[in-house]
Subunit: 446 residues, 2 copies
């Protein structure tokens, strides 16, 4: 089912149960398209066993507003994709450093300012990952004098690009798991934006410095990072619905309780809410009811009668913007007030900050589209997810920052009839899996 074989040809990638295309775009960086997964349990016949998951996914924008209000810092509310280009600010990956020794590399191509083709080498790496983690396991202790343990190691495939947007470096990973999950991980590193100051010690700071004194005469300015993904999911076909499975408390009152057949006073159940229009597709992950957010295909059901779906599992970094709605930087990136938005697919709606982000006044961006309140039930819909961080700098982030990660997992949810990893074979008796820095005979301590 999986192993060492990665088939990679002109960006077409086949690995384990996955098949997808890895592309390069000047503005978006990596573009994943036509991702489908093999389902051994699906109806017989080769074609139906390969099932669509993602039509196209890419980072639509990275919004980085700095929080020093003085005029000289006013322009530092960067839209890294729309103003600079994530592909243009990706640089050749360092083999063995940015990506492990087993990585394969893909080049990028785009048209230069003079219209001629430009070849950018080693823009994306693709590698198999074994981190020492477990895909599934169980120890059954229920049999007398017998322990049965089954474990399967977790091996995945990563497609990575690194964008050095001026001072800051974003490591952008697409991780494909044999469980059917796609994990999107943003790792932040690189250099902080700093400003000169007369202060040489925190005791001297007399008024709001708009940042942290990280070294003598050096303030690292407060800022945000919002990495917004455009995820045109096609869960088993084009027409999907966005469902909130809302965890809803049920509390019995004391009188009813006395007569009830159980002492349990409260529990929760799931209230299923199908988003009809775009307004229902806006979710603030920081407030409101806890919910599983699921893209389903209402036309396809499992054998058990559940709608097939993929859900969004947030993996940290869930900040939303706190700027005033009428502030100019916020108008350009108004979509950052909600981490999740769902819109109907439109060919012209690719860039969250608008096609001409540099000159945008907010009229042609994701927030404006999303306000049109179009119907999204059973349509070809797009998930926009924003990974957000309020970045208060600390001294450890200076002069270069240890990586800090956040992201999300797109996880099959009643997509398969059962755990698709069940058929994975256990570890053999050859030389076992390793994942340490000694494995290649090398050490990083030199």
């Amino acid at each position: 089912m999986h192993g060492c074989c990665i088939w990679l040809c002109c960006g077409n990638c086949r690995w384990a149960n996955w098949e997808f295309h890895v592309g390069f775009d000047m503005r978006a960086g990596t573009v994943i398209s036509l991702a489908s997964v093999h389902d051994a349990d699906a109806d017989a016949g080769g074609a139906r066993r390969r099932r669509q998951v993602l039509y196209r996914g890419f980072v639509s924008e990275i919004f980085v507003p700095y929080m020093d209000p003085v005029e000289e810092w006013y322009y530092r509310t960067f839209l890294d994709a729309g103003e600079y280009g994530l592909g243009l600010w990706a640089f050749p990956l360092q083999p063995g450093g940015d990506c492990p020794a087993n990585a394969a590399y893909l080049d990028g191509h785009y048209s230069g300012q003079d219209g001629r083709p430009v070849e950018a080498r080693n823009m994306i790496c693709v590698f198999e990952r074994y981190s020492g983690d477990v895909a599934w396991r169980h120890t059954e202790a229920g049999f007398p004098n017998q322990l049965i343990t089954e474990v399967r190691p977790d091996v995945s495939l990563v497609a990575r690009m690194v964008v050095s947007a001026g001072n800051y470096d974003y490591i952008l990973d697409w991780e494909f798991k044999t469980s059917g999950s796609i994990k999107l991980v943003v790792s932040l590193t690189g250099l902080l934006e700093v400003k000169a100051t007369a202060y040489a010690h925190a005791d001297e700071v007399a008024q709001d410095a708009h940042g942290t004194l990280v070294a003598e005469n050096t303030i690292a300015v407060y800022h945000d990072h919002y990495v917004t993904y455009h995820l045109d999911l096609d869960v088993d076909g084009t027409n999907n619905s966005f469902v909130k499975n809302i965890v809803t408390a049920v509390v019995r009152d004391a009188d009813a309780d006395a007569a009830a057949d159980t002492p349990r006073r409260s529990y929760w159940t799931v209230r299923r809410e199908v988003a009809e229009r775009e307004a229902d597709g806006q979710v603030d992950l920081g407030g409101g009811a806890p919910a599983d957010l699921v893209f389903v295909n209402p036309g396809k059901k499992t054998r058990m009668g559940n709608e097939v779906g993929y859900r969004v599992v947030p993996g940290g970094a869930m900040a939303a913007s706190v700027l005033a709605d009428d502030d100019f930087p916020q108008r350009r990136a108004a979509y950052c007030k909600k981490q999740v938005r769902v819109t109907p697919y439109s060919r012209s709606e690719k860039w969250a900050s608008g096609l001409y982000a540099d000159q945008s006044t907010g009229g042609d961006g994701l927030a404006a589209w999303s306000e049109r309140d179009r119907a999204i039930r059973g349509e070809d819909i797009v998930l926009w997810y924003t990974v957000g961080l309020h970045h208060v700098p600390y001294q450890e982030d200076f002069p270069v920052m240890p990586t800090l990660s956040g992201g999300l997992e797109l996880r099959p949810s009643n997509f398969f009839e059962r755990n698709p990893l069940l058929t994975t074979m256990p570890i053999g008796h050859g030389r076992p899996l390793v994942n340490c820095s000694c494995a290649g005979g090398d050490s990083i301590s030199r």
Copy 2:
């Protein structure tokens, strides 16, 4: 600074810049104590360069309430540590499966029911991890015709235990990073609790089934997982304070704006709030103002004058309990309504669900202690952090569940004068780092 050498002797572990003790406890499972980190930038003199971080950390409780209210399911509101014992339900780890080939193993010892010592083999594994990730990097494109890229791979140390609490398996990782971070990761797998039903298809479900139909006549019941850590941080000494660095929006009104020297209407700054009493130490991560939650040592400052600290970075799985306060299961695990609580250290306050969890009515647990509202500023304080998941089962979770992870990172925040990874050497010219399943000559596809 780091590399292949793990020094492990009777649970004492030294690796890279870390030193700590790994212990075993019948109830808590793994206990990490006296964790300290070497600081090359600290004042000369060997002793002062080794700095305390964590006095003692362990999983205090795992609360798993099921959401079927019928009497036969009433007792299924498990306190896995207090009622069963995480150490007692940990089983020998499978080399090559639960832990990679480069892992070392530790045994556990405890007194059996007859008072005699019991030796439990291979309870905890300790291994170095290289996942293909980056510790820090930057590409500097600011010099004409010159690209300078520096990358350092991320190599860490993991101490792992797997607890198979009946049907369910928890993979509990403590990951020590050379950046000074300690990551706590809970990975959930194993078997769902199911109940028999007459339903064979979702269309037949006539009333709330309290779960998901995952197979014919099989309902996987809704439930929660709350993994509560007791983290007695000693940041550079015993007496610490709990600080909320609250991201606070500043909005200028339009009139003032016209006269101002900047067109920027809004920004955020940090309001520093020191928790005086236990009530200030209770935080609901799902609501309220975004904040960096920091343990600081008010008696120790960096050279720049910032208080030394470690902060909590949530890594997903941030659910809080929605049960009614007077419901019996909730009374026993009342602490699950807030993900973060800070209490003064008390020798008798180890178990969030109380010393005698099985018979507890809530009077001797974390919520009751935390309600005493004791002073916590500049004291020997304890961080209690609950990783929480509302688990709506899906068909993929059946019959065994692919791992789903959540956790937190304890991250140095003005603890070091600068990024402690700066001194890491780049990759050498030997055989480079690998992390794939082929590395050991083995494949998992057999």
